[in-house]
């Protein structure tokens, strides 16, 4: 089966060890995580995981069900590239003298739609958001000026669907408490 890139989004309670519980699911199946971002979602107290993974359709279905099975996970979905808008952020630290010596870096900043965050006599910090290929390209182009530090975030993504799927689910949860046998 064809290996494709998938973006998993999972919504969870903020409990200790939950990240571990989720990554175990990948470890057990010998899957490598390409990128991971976790932060509080639009709903207070609920955290959103965005995980990028390369695998087959068959396996991603199973993996997402396993994630959703984790007690503290509310919902998990997987999405193909076509179903999401996504971004990553990258920060580059370059020597300020390389900016003053030529206008090439300025040209790159304009070309890549990057921006300058901070300038000191020693260094300048540049920020660029975009897809990995874009942030990587800028890094490669700036390399000759001596990039002192470079860092890139995990992917965050938003679906092309109108509303966050979880909000509908939470509304349903509130109106219809699950029947429970004790």
């Amino acid at each position: 089966m064809e290996v494709k890139e998938f973006t998993i989004t999972a919504f969870s309670e903020n409990s200790i060890g939950l990240l571990n519980r989720i990554t175990i699911i990948f470890t057990r199946r010998h899957l490598n995580i390409e990128s991971l971002a976790v932060s509080e979602s639009a709903i207070h107290g609920i955290y959103k995981f965005t995980i990028v993974i390369r695998t087959t359709q068959e396996l991603i279905e199973n993996v997402v069900k396993q994630i959703e099975k984790v007690v503290d996970v509310l919902r998990a979905y997987y999405l193909s590239k076509e179903e999401i808008i996504y971004q990553e952020i990258a920060l580059y630290k370059v020597p300020t003298e390389s900016l003053t010596e030529s206008s090439e870096i300025e040209g790159l900043v304009r070309k890549y739609n990057a921006r300058i965050l901070e300038v000191t006599p020693e260094y300048t910090v540049i920020e660029k958001t975009g897809h990995k290929e874009d942030t990587q390209q800028l890094f490669d182009d700036m390399r000759k000026f001596g990039v002192l530090q470079f860092t890139r975030s995990g992917r965050i993504a938003i679906t092309k669907a109108k509303k966050e799927r979880l909000s509908e689910y939470l509304v349903k949860l509130d109106t219809k408490k699950p029947k429970v046998r004790i």
Binding site: E13, K177, I182
Partner: protein, 564 residues
């Protein structure tokens, strides 16, 4: 709510009492001593049973849970106490057994400092528990205990680990207990979707040659009666997985036997001849399916299952009804047409006859010299009239016992299925006997597995648990030896055992026993064992190189089942 000022330790015990717990299997140590100290005050309400090893406590809790349908509870100290539970947790996880394990932990200020007997309980138990929690604040104890019981017992059950730091055990709180009925992020019982029930009913009504695959889900859901109504109305032949054994009576006319690697010939061969496979609370384990690429190729597949993650995991299905199976049966049976399938059912009888002549007769009524495991099992099951609880260890004897033991009642088998844990049998039998003291508990164990946990003879003796231990001794790790014979050119690498005198060992633990090596002594000794008042060890010397057949070789198609 009315509250009462108590220590964290007392809160743990009051929580257990509120959940109806009256038995704990465990082993004390430094970090759990405050709770053990309180147990001393509660001896009239909670019986703590000291096992000889924490692994024994975990398996005993499993055996207890499996026969009672309740929760098994065990309690251990930090560090090695907790890590010794690992095998039991993993076993309970794979076999969906509700157990609650409480471990003491070093004081919270010492967490992460490599303190004496500190280990990362959360970390190691995470992949082998349904849920786990570390409690460092005393006020969290009642709520987390309630949540643990709720999660362990609802939906697809499983093990829960609770790690409590020693300072939380000492500290005080205002105690009040409220049972947990809901966890926002957890849906134990997915709502039944009637449209899928209708589609499944249509497939069943139109099928000419359906076959049902009965798993432990039926037992866990308490849906044994509903299962019979379902298969009887549509006259569906029903086979069972190892964990599904005893969900329906052995002698029921629609019971066509065991599935899988050492299952019966009929249900395996018919898997690839039927036109509809109906998975009932089972998970299409590889020991059931063999090679999935060639599994059920002529058939559509319907799956009734409570755990959504099991659907389409191993076998792609056409219709899945994801719900508690008792509810599913209730909804679907009225939609089924009454059918007659005499010709289809007769094919299973013919297959059984064929298997009987080729395999079973030689197993259970042998004429040649050398005792077989099969004849021992046959005699015990005849003498206990299908009323005994069978507990097994893992290996050849396990397959033979599950093939030939007969049952009338559900929850009559305790065996380690998914994990295949050698050493499971003896402690699990102890737990089962504590859970059902009204029943005869027969523990069938091989000479290999027996030596993994035989220290629990001490627990059995101390508690005078009248377990009938049947040690089938071939002085080999029989199942591995069989594989070596069949697939590794008889190169018997590290499978032969020089065994001790087991009867003397049992005597050392105060347990009577007898060794049988001749056929003429077997009947009478089994009789003696069953009539004996306390625990008894019956050691039977069985043929050294006996094999278990039928067999679907690992990775082969179920159609390639071998009878010799």
């Amino acid at each position: 709510m009315k509250t009462k000022k108590v220590s964290g330790s007392e809160a743990v015990i009051l929580s257990l009492l509120a959940e109806g717990v009256d038995t704990i299997f465990g082993y004390p140590g430094g970090a759990i001593m405050p709770i053990y100290d309180l147990l001393y005050d509660y001896q009239d309400k909670i019986k703590h049973i000291l096992t000889r090893h924490e692994q024994g406590a975990a398996h005993a809790a499993q055996g207890y849970a499996r026969v009672t349908g309740g929760v098994g509870v065990c309690m251990v100290t930090s560090g090695p106490g907790a890590t010794n539970l690992t095998t039991g947790l993993a076993d309970a996880m794979l076999d969906s057994t509700p157990i609650i394990c409480i471990s003491g932990q070093v004081v919270s200020g010492l967490l992460g400092t490599d303190a004496f007997q500190e280990t990362d309980v959360m970390g190691f138990s995470m992949p082998i528990t349904k849920w786990n929690i570390q409690i460092t604040k005393v006020e969290d104890i009642p709520e987390m205990m309630a949540r643990a019981f709720f999660i362990a017992t609802t939906g697809r059950p499983g093990p829960v680990m609770i790690d409590i730091t020693k300072d939380a055990q000492f500290a005080e709180l205002d105690f009040a207990y409220k049972k947990c009925v809901d966890v926002r992020s957890y849906v134990p019982r997915p709502p039944l979707r009637m449209e899928y029930v209708e589609q499944a009913a249509e497939l069943i009504n139109n099928a000419k040659k359906p076959m049902a695959l009965v798993g432990q889900g039926v037992i866990l859901s308490g849906a044994e009666k509903e299962l019979l109504a379902f298969i009887e109305k549509a006259q569906i032949p029903a086979a069972w997985t190892l964990l599904g054994n005893s969900a329906m009576p052995s002698e029921h006319p629609l019971n066509v036997g065991m599935l899988g690697m050492h299952g019966n010939y009929g249900p395996n061969i018919k898997t690839n001849e039927c036109d509809l496979l109906i998975g009932l609370g089972m998970r299409f384990d590889d020991r059931v399916t063999g090679d999935v690429k060639t599994y059920g190729k002529m058939a559509k597949v319907v799956h009734f299952e409570i755990d959504p993650a099991e659907v389409n995991k191993n076998v792609r299905v056409d219709i899945a009804v994801i719900a508690d199976i008792k509810e599913t049966f209730g909804a679907i049976t009225p939609l089924l047409k009454e059918q007659k399938r005499d010709e289809w059912l007769n094919q299973f009888k013919i297959a059984y006859q064929y298997e009987y002549e080729k395999v079973i007769e030689k197993d259970i009524h042998p004429v040649k010299k050398g005792l077989t495991m099969g004849e021992v099992i046959r005699m015990i099951t005849e003498k206990t009239n299908g009323e005994a609880i069978l507990v097994t260890d893992v290996g050849q004897h396990q397959m033979i016992a599950n093939r030939y033991f007969k049952f009338k009642n559900s929850r009559s088998v305790v065996t380690s299925g998914g994990l295949g844990t050698m050493g499971f049998g003896l402690p699990a039998a102890f737990g089962a006997q504590r859970g059902r003291p009204d029943k005869t508990v027969v523990a069938v164990i091989g000479d290999g597995g027996f030596q993994m946990t035989l220290q629990e003879l001490g627990t059995i003796w101390q508690n005078k648990a009248p377990i009938k231990i049947v040690l089938l001794n071939n002085n080999f790790l029989g199942m591995v030896r069989q594989w070596q014979q069949m697939f590794f050119d008889k190169r018997y690498s590290s499978t032969e055992l020089t065994n001790p005198d087991f009867i003397t060992i049992a005597r050392g633990f105060g347990i009577d026993g007898k060794k049988v090596s001749e056929r003429e002594d077997l009947d009478g000794t089994i009789e003696d064992m069953l009539n004996h008042e306390g625990p008894f060890l019956l050691e039977v010397t069985v043929e050294k190189e006996g094999n278990v057949f039928p067999m679907v070789p690992a990775g082969a198609s179920v159609s390639d089942i071998r009878l010799e």
